[in-house]
Subunit: 164 residues, 2 copies
């Protein structure tokens, strides 16, 4: 990707870029602000090194792209998502782009920022030669399901998880 | 993983190991033999280099583990799956293990081989410190859904895909 991308919505233009270490705290704050994520994150607790270790692993591997969306270059982080590019033999050796951990700050919802982020991700997947973009969404998030369906995704799969 | 693992089922003991280049053709044959995969694969066509390129990408990255299950050490490939280990910030910096492209040859179904493969994958995810194992399964595969539910997985997510 280019180092900084303009994400234009109807109302305003945001900035999308690869996340850096200083973005980890505001990104975790976005994850924790989410209704379903609240109990799963620990933004104020003693577990901070786990987040930093995870960031280092993501950042070291070109197969992963953790993204920060800000209100302007140098502005506040108000959106995030992770893109991973996964090789596989299925579908004639297709590389899949997988989207995880999409969050938009509640004050910046409803203006098309989420759609602009996902559209950018789909375009980036295309530029990298992926044959498929995939993601899972908690069955309780019916608004998200309408959103992804509107963007052309099909909910043709069950998403199974097993916590260890 | 150890270089070769015994997978004991009630009836017999299979061998599980990291796939090598010579396994690509039998693995693609397993993918193509599948009802839903038949139209997506091209095991006899001119697209062979795409599979070989995909295998090289999987094999070069320690985050991915393509597995071959054989009837004995040196025996016929009758099962396959891919495990990918994905770092992420969510869930306190949890690494996820993702399972893709699980196939068992039809002559070797019903004897517990699939369950032994998934149980091994869950154990390997645990050994690598993952907090979560995830996979998606086509909504038309109701047998597979019962199978994963029996193994402790929860279908709490919708699996969205967008073909490019």
């Amino acid at each position: 990707m280019h180092s900084v991308v303009d994400l234009a919505t109807g109302e305003k233009t945001y900035t999308l870029r690869r996340a850096v270490a200083a973005d980890v705290r505001p990104i975790v704050a976005l994850l924790a602000a989410d209704q379903l994520g609240a109990t799963r994150e620990d933004p104020d607790g003693g577990d901070w090194t786990a987040y930093e270790r995870a960031f280092a692993a993501i950042d070291a591997d070109p197969a992963h792209l953790l993204l920060a969306v800000t209100t302007s270059p140098g502005g506040e982080v108000v959106g995030t998502m992770q893109l991973s590019f996964l090789p596989g033999l299925a579908r004639r050796g297709a590389t899949r782009a997988q989207i995880e951990a999409v969050r938009v700050h509640e004050r910046h919802r409803g203006g098309g920022l989420g759609a602009a982020m996902i559209s950018w991700a789909v375009g980036e997947a295309r530029r990298r030669g992926c044959a498929l973009v995939q993601l899972t969404s908690d069955k309780r998030r019916s608004d998200a399901h309408r959103f992804y369906t509107r963007l052309g995704f099909t909910a043709g799969h069950e998403g199974f998880k097993l916590a260890l």
